[in-house]
């Protein structure tokens, strides 16, 4: 019995090490001097320097060895674009999905089943495949490389899953309170806003955070729809790879900046994230 427990912890510790190592290594690199970065054997103990961060924050003139994007670009274009597109699209998504989810889970109406299936079906569209039609469409109507276009794209891509999430959360809330409110003469929309929404807060938070992560992580859509002015963080990862060499340290530091929101959500909103990931399995 004891041996069994011991083995289980060994498995989990190996898993932990394997999972964390790539991230920890990147964080370590971002604090290494250029010499330590190329050291063989790889160095675990080193004296940390902030040079790489200094480069990102614009402290060093464009140095051929460092290359890469400069502070201005990161802090005035890429980071704001990533934040704005993720936050606004998630906000719109949650509102639209709450309404639709409410409809699908509380009303029995003609066409409910086909609509539900259509929504689940849309989820199967691979974003990389959707990127091409959207690229053509946005080019035609002049929405390409605009934040508005990017926000629309994220909203549309995320709505189906968000509806699914919200519908399942609403189904879990008791219908009686609402009915009481309706009998008291509340209109539907009032019942939704005043009675259902307060109970739904955790579900709304879960949906928002999950959609935020999906938008924040997106590369495929931004790659096609937002090449320059509306570019987001992940698009500039490769800009550290230049003909004269790769700026390893600053590249790692850039990765660390990009990772921060994900880490924050994992620490503070873990249960919400787990809900999002396991939803399809636990509740259909």
């Amino acid at each position: 019995m004891k041996l069994w427990d011991f083995l289980i912890y060994i498995v989990l510790i190996i898993f932990t090490f394997w999972t964390l190592f790539p991230i920890l290594w990147m964080i370590m690199l971002s604090f290494k001097s250029p010499l330590d970065i190329i050291a063989v054997p790889p160095k675990f103990i080193f004296s940390p320097v902030i040079d790489n961060w200094f480069v990102l924050f614009g402290g060093v003139e464009a140095n051929p060895v460092y290359g890469g994007v400069q502070m201005q670009k990161i802090f005035f274009t890429l980071l704001p674009n990533s934040l704005i597109s993720s936050i606004i699209s998630s906000g719109i998504t949650v509102i639209v999905a709450t309404l639709a989810g409410y409809s699908l889970s509380r009303f029995n109406f003609k066409g409910r089943r086909p609509i539900t299936f259509a929504i689940i079906g849309t989820r199967m569209l691979p974003p990389i495949a959707t990127a091409i039609p959207l690229y053509i469409f946005f080019s035609d109507i002049g929405l390409r490389d605009t934040l508005f276009g990017l926000i629309l794209a994220y909203t549309a891509i995320n709505i189906p899953f968000a509806i699914w999430m919200m519908a399942s959360f609403i189904m879990q809330t008791p219908v009686e309170i609402e009915e009481a409110a309706l009998i008291d003469g509340c209109r539907r929309i009032e019942a939704l806003v005043k009675v259902v929404l307060p109970i739904l807060k955790p579900g709304i938070a879960a949906t928002f955070i999950f959609n935020y992560i999906l938008a924040w992580n997106d590369f495929a859509l931004a790659f096609f729809l937002a090449p320059n002015r509306a570019a987001t963080m992940p698009l500039y990862i490769l800009s550290f790879v230049t003909e004269t060499g790769t700026a390893w340290g600053p590249m790692a530091a850039y990765g660390v900046i990009y990772i921060i929101p994900s880490i924050i959500f994992i620490i503070f909103a873990q249960n919400y994230l787990v809900k999002g990931f396991t939803l399809g399995a636990v509740k259909g």
Partner: protein
Amino acid sequence: MKRKLFNILYPYLFLLPAFIILFVVLAYPWLNSFYLSFHSYRPGVSEEINFVGLENYYSIFKDKLFGISTYNTIFLLIGEISIQFILGLLIALSLNSIKSFRRFFRTVALLPLVLAPALSSLAWRFLVDPVRGFINGFLLMLGIKGPDWIGDPNYALLTILVIEVWKFTPYVTLILLAGLQGIPPPLLEAAAIDGATRWQSFRYITFPWLKPFIAIALLFRTMFVLRTFEIIYLLMGLGGPGNSAMVYGTYLVYLTRKLWDLGLGSAMSIILVVITGIISIGYFMFLYKGGD
């Protein structure tokens, strides 16, 4: 009377905003692409849109690169799904049986899953780079000259497989863990009282219970393997060394970005969706027919 009509309309009104957005931003562009997939359309070269019938589909199916993409996608599918299933199940069972630190290990499992694919690619670049990467540096310390994980056609796809296993095994773990936590304790207690061994209670209670969860996890993994793109693109460019890591996702980008043919690109988008659809429907049928 007015109130009654309203009650009929209500559910549709609530659905309207979602419907409008989905129609304008998804359905219309897709229909447009479906139309273009039968045309030749190269906006940079000429603005003409010429009807070519099935020419685009024909030339994709004839293309050697499409064959390579198919082969590599199947390789990734089989490799990922089998490895992720075994490891995911192992870790989920371990997590389910411990009493302390469960939350800590679950946090760990969430990490690669929540990270952007682009970031996974970046973090792994620091490990698999042939000259400065950790792995080859470590091997060199042992006196072994490591291979070029990124640039050698023999290793490129394998490297991608390892990164994908790293990133997505936790997904299978989370789903299966959710399943395991739903097993009613009396079921297992009864088995224990009847003297069932650990293997027997796994074989006859846990595993059958997990089946639908396994099916869902594998369905979603399959759908997501089919859209693999950024990890490959950011690590080794479109298709990897000598196209040895070309998959559907990168092939699609190759058609639009390299060949600059939006007709071809549209056709490939349609093909990818159809393939995803067929596999998903297959899964569903399996799930509802032979599931339990």
